[in-house]
Each structure stands twice: as C-alpha cells, then as structure tokens.
C-alpha cells in the first residue's frame, strides 16, 4: 500500500506545511503523520479539509511518500522541493532531518 501524507500551504504566509499528530500543521515533513492505508489517508485528508474550512491552511492534498526510519521522503520531485525549499536558494531551505530530531 502506498504511504501518504497530507500537505497544504498555510493561509497566513503561504508556507508549505504537513499534517502531524494532534491536528498540528508543521513545516517539517519528518513530523508528518503517515497514512498507511487508503482509508487512513482519506481520514487525514478529511481532517485537513476541516482545517481549510477553519482558515488554517489552503488547498490540502495527499502526496505519496517513502519512509526510512524517521525519514519521510516524497515520491515526486516536485514534493521534495516543496518539503526542502528551492534548490537554487538552499539558504532558504529546511534541513531535512535536523529540525525533525530537535522536535523529538
């Protein structure tokens, strides 16, 4: 079964966020809650739609990911860029694992 997480952009500043445990929206994909079945993913998206209605985020959608321990990596390159920030301005990017570790 394909693993999926929910991503969106925050309404206020447009930043890329991921749905984590406890209905939180986080900038670090490593903290995202992974839907391991289609039903679980659909349930995550329903939570996100509620957050969109509550004006926390806009335009949520599911993305395919793979996991390796604590690491979560999007399947599509477009989503890798969204998760990390622009490759042409690495100084504006998010380190892939450092922040995840700091949150734990």
């Amino acid at each position: 079964m394909a693993l999926q997480v929910v991503t969106a952009n925050r309404l206020g500043d447009g930043r890329v966020v991921f749905l984590a445990d406890g209905y939180r929206w986080v900038e670090e994909i490593g903290l995202a809650r992974v839907g391991e079945t289609e039903e679980a993913a659909t349930a995550l998206l329903a939570i996100a739609e509620k957050a969109a209605a509550d004006r926390i985020i806009v335009a949520p959608y599911l993305i395919g990911v793979s996991t390796d321990g604590d690491r979560i990596t999007p399947t599509r390159y477009r989503e890798v860029l969204r998760a990390r920030g622009p490759s042409s301005h690495p100084e504006f990017g998010r380190p892939p694992s450092a922040t995840a570790a700091a949150h734990r």
């Binding site: 952009n9 309404l11 206020g12 500043d13 447009g14 477009r78 622009p86």
Partner: protein, 551 residues
C-alpha cells in the same frame, strides 16, 4: 517618465483599500478560498510552491530610482532580501505573507506602482523595447503609446474577463528588442510612403504549448486610430475566442481557426463601427503623454572623449565589458549600459535589496534617475556619459553587475521553474546556473559569439524557450526532470520558432548536450557567421547527428 495624475493615484489607492478589505474578510472567514482566489490573483498575488508570490507591474520596463529603492525596501522588509525580474519586465517577490500584502501595495502606491492586471484574463502589463527613447535606430519612443494603452486597458470594463490573458508589446525601432512577433498583439512603429509614423499591427503571436509567429493584419495604422483599432481586435477576440478549453483560448488559436484574412475582415468591420469616435486619439493628447517621456537634460558632449578612449586602450577587461554591455546612444557622448543580472553561476533576473539600492544610486549619479528592465532579465542604465563609463564599470564590478556576457551564452533567460512555480514540471534555474558555469571562460564566450539560450520549466514557456537560439524545455517523465532541446528560435524582427532536435535529455546530460551543440556550431560555421545564421544554413541534421551519435 509618466507621473500619475489624481485619477491614477485615486484609482490605485482605492484598489489597495479594496484589497485590504478583501484580505480581512478572507482571514475572518467571510470569503471562502474559492471566492478569494480570483480577487488575490487580480492583485498579482499567486500562491506558488513555497509561499505567496507578488508580481508587481513595471510598466513598459521603466523604473524611477525612487521606485527601485521602494522595491529594495520591500525586498528587505517583507521578503528575503531579493526580487526577481521577469521576462515580462515585471518584478516578483517570492516569499510574501498574505497579511502583509495590503501594506506592501500601499507602499507601492506611494511611488506610483501597483500589481493590478499582472494576473488574470485581462490585458497585462504592456511591454516595450528596453532601449526605448535612447536607441540609435529608433523612429519614435514606444513608451508614449504603451502608456496610452495602459490607461485605456486599466480596468477596461469590457476586457476584464477575456477568454484568456492578453499581452501587448510595442517597438519603435526596426530592430525588434521587444519580441513583438510572439505577443497577442505586436505593434511595430514605422514610416509609410508619405513619411508619416504609424503602426504595423501584428496579431496572434505567442508561445506556450502552441507557439505561433504573429500575422500582420494591418500594415499601417495611423496613430490616432490606435485605441479604436485595439478595441476592435479585443472585441472580436472577446466575442469569438474559446472559453470552453483553457489551452485553446488565446487569440492565436482564434486567428488560426478562422484564418488571418477572415480575422482581419472581422476586425476591420468592427472597426468601421467604432472608428472616429470617442477612442480617437487627439494629437494634443499624444503630445501631452509625449511630454512625460521628453529627453532628459542632456549636455552637449564631444564625440571624442579622451579619458574614455584612454581607458579602453589601457584596461582590456573594461574594453571587453564595453564591447558586450554598452550600446551606442542616440546622443553624442552618451551610452546605454546593460547591467548583467547573469553573474557566472547566478540566478538569472535575481537582484538583492543592496544591489537595487546601489543601482538606484548609480542611476542618479551617472544618469537621470531612470532604470530599465529588459525582457531578457537584465537592467539598463539608459543615459550614461561615455566619460563616466570607466568609473561606473569599476563600481558595477564590485556589485557583481558587470559580467561581460550580454547577448552571449552566459546571458540566459530562465523562468523560476520548479524551484518556485506551481505550474512547472522541471527546474530551470539550476540548468541555467550549470550552463553559465560551464561557459564562464570569457574568451570562449566571445568566440562563440551571439547566442541566446532560453529555458522554461514547462510548456507555458515563460522562459521563451521556443524563441531561443537554443531553447530548453523542462518536462516531467515519471516524476523525474528531463529537458527537450530546440534549435533556431528567434524573437527579433526575423522571428522563428525553434525546431525540436529529438528525444529529451536527463538532467545530468543537458549541459553536455548544449556543449555538443555549440561545438558542432563552431565546427561547421562559416567565417563571421552567428549561431543562428549557421543553423538557418545547415538545419538540424549536423546537430542531431552529433547529439544522438552515441545512442
């Protein structure tokens, strides 16, 4: 340059407050995302990959130093300290917060700028030759007519919901630096047999997924009929352009489907109904607008400038920069200077807040307070005395704005691509950076000569790849980045659409492919022949053979 009157200022101020109210209502939950999206887009605010992007209009590419300093201030205060100049002579900020946007627009309004009609299915910012008013070959300053079109098209009630976006470009010179043949409407100023100045009207050019060279529907239009004729074209398009299919909605598809002759006939019939009416441009109004673009107070200078000529002899690096980045000016003793926003390995079109401030200072010190934005993503100081060139060059060097590569292989156009753009399929900027690094040897660059490399991250072609001598188009193959290469495109008065060489190349192969193409050119070119001339002489075959020899 043009200054707002009370109407302009009131209209822009009111628009800022209207948008402030819309943002407040969105945040308060009174507007849904679906309701709000068209409202933010009509104010130039996109939601891109990483954040909101604000596209600010730079009308016909002309900026005052006051405006440039304001853009620097916004970059510093509301963004990450830089802005990106686009292929439509606009400026984009990539890291804008929704809640800051009304304040940013209010700041812009204080320097007579806005983001109106930088998105949506309306008439967009009118673009022009970046050497307008100073080019030696110019017949008349196109910005006079761009400004007239801007006033006519701003909030034009009939044309606010066109089938699709609509782009107009104007050139006042025989040598087309404004790419008018790949615009929805291109206007080329020229003289008729009686010596009067008017417009050749070209319609239905464009890039995107269906690249087309515009067709001439009227060889000569007297100036006073400019607006009524444009109105007639827009009316036919508004009425007959397709609204059922996004990809077939541009005017080029309409012109192609009914045929240029029939389209011309429809426009002429419509025009007969509305000509000589309220849209007639009185000579006095043209003169009033012309007054805003009057030449600055040039000094009378000698043709011989000993300090300049001495510096050219003494300093080879300076001489090399002059050769590529300085263009003759219509006034004796003056020069047009192009500041390269393409440093080796840099991001085409990016300028930091500090660079913007410094450029504004230089434009005040060595010019008349004016800066131009080119559609090739460089900036221009239009009025520099030759005697000041050496001092200016030294300062531009310290600012990394003096890379001597204008018109050469390092002067690459690239759209933001997948690094920023929600529509893109592949990245453009890193490809431009790699090519720029690979061809950083100045001697080699000069040997290769004029070469326009243009890169788009998707078929929408914001990076003008169809009209690049070498065009590179990013495509997505099963989630990976690939690049399709075209050869022989051109955006000037002899415009052409590039030919696809063959199967696309992986991200790791694309620089080698460009090198193979350039090596092939160097091998087969005749004496003094530019890349494009060689391509037009020999065609795809030798390039194709080399590129796919190993496959």
């Amino acid at each position: 340059m043009y200054r707002y009157d009370d109407y302009d200022q009131t209209l822009v101020n009111e628009r800022v407050e209207q948008f402030r109210d819309q943002v407040n209502r969105r945040v308060a939950g009174e507007l849904s995302d679906d309701e709000f999206k068209p409202l933010r887009l009509t104010n130039g605010l996109y939601l891109q990959l990483h954040a909101y992007m604000l596209r600010i209009a730079v009308p016909y590419g002309t900026l005052s130093t006051l405006q440039l300093r304001k853009l620097a201030e916004i970059a510093r205060r509301y963004d990450k300290g830089y802005g990106h100049f686009t292929t439509r002579q606009n400026l984009q900020f990539n890291w804008i917060r929704l809640e800051d946007t009304p304040d940013i627009l209010a700041e812009l309004a204080t320097v007579e700028m806005h983001a109106i009609q930088t998105s949506g299915n309306c008439i967009r910012n009118v673009t022009a030759d970046h050497f307008a008013g100073v080019a030696g070959d110019e017949i008349e300053d196109p910005r006079i007519y761009c400004e007239i079109i801007r006033q006519w098209s701003t909030f034009h009630p009939e044309f606010s919901f066109l089938p699709r976006k609509f782009k107009i470009a104007v050139t006042g010179s025989p040598h087309d630096r404004a790419a008018v043949k790949v615009h929805d409407i291109g206007l080329r100023m020229h003289r008729n047999e009686a010596g009067e100045i008017g417009f050749e009207v070209l319609v239905g050019g464009g890039q995107g997924r269906t690249p087309v060279i515009a067709k001439t529907i009227r060889p000569f239009l007297p100036k006073r009929h400019l607006l009524s004729y444009l109105e007639a074209i827009l009316r036919i398009y508004n009425q007959l352009g397709r609204r059922d299919n996004l990809y077939k909605a541009r005017i080029k598809i309409l012109v192609d489907s009914v045929g240029a002759d029939r389209f011309t006939q429809l426009v002429e019939e419509e025009w007969q109904q509305i000509r000589d009416g309220y849209l007639d441009l009185p000579a006095a109004e043209i003169e009033r607008i012309r007054g805003f673009f009057a030449p600055p107070p040039y000094r009378t200078l000698d043709a011989h400038v000993p300090e300049y000529e001495g510096a050219l002899r003494r300093d080879l690096r300076f001489a090399r920069w002059v050769r590529t980045n300085v263009t003759p000016h219509k006034r004796r003793g003056y020069a047009i200077v192009t500041l390269s926003l393409k440093p080796t390995g840099g991001i085409p079109g990016d300028a930091t807040d500090a660079q913007m401030d410094a450029i504004a200072d230089l434009a005040d010190r060595y010019g008349f307070g004016e800066v131009r934005v080119s559609h090739e993503q460089n900036l221009v100081l239009p009025d520099v005395a030759q005697a000041d060139l050496y001092e200016l060059w030294k300062q531009l060097e310290t600012l990394e704005l003096a890379t001597p590569n204008i018109g050469l292989a390092g002067d690459i156009i690239a759209c933001p691509g997948l690094d920023y753009c929600a529509l893109a399929n592949a990245r453009s900027i890193p490809v431009a950076q790699q090519i720029s690094r690979h061809f950083s040897d100045l001697t080699k660059l000069l040997d290769i000569g004029e070469l326009k490399i243009k890169i788009s991250g998707c078929i929408n072609a914001c990076g003008h790849h169809h009209v690049g001598h070498i065009g590179i188009l990013g495509v997505d193959k099963h989630g990976s980045e690939f690049y399709q290469i075209t050869l022989g495109g051109s955006a000037d008065e002899n415009a052409s659409i590039g030919d696809i060489v063959g199967p696309s190349f992986g991200a790791a192969e694309v620089v080698d492919a460009v090198e193979t193409i350039i090596d092939t050119y160097l091998h087969v070119r005749a004496d003094g022949e530019r890349f494009l001339d060689t391509y037009r002489r020999v065609g795809l075959k030798p390039f194709k053979e080399k590129l796919y020899a190993a496959h």
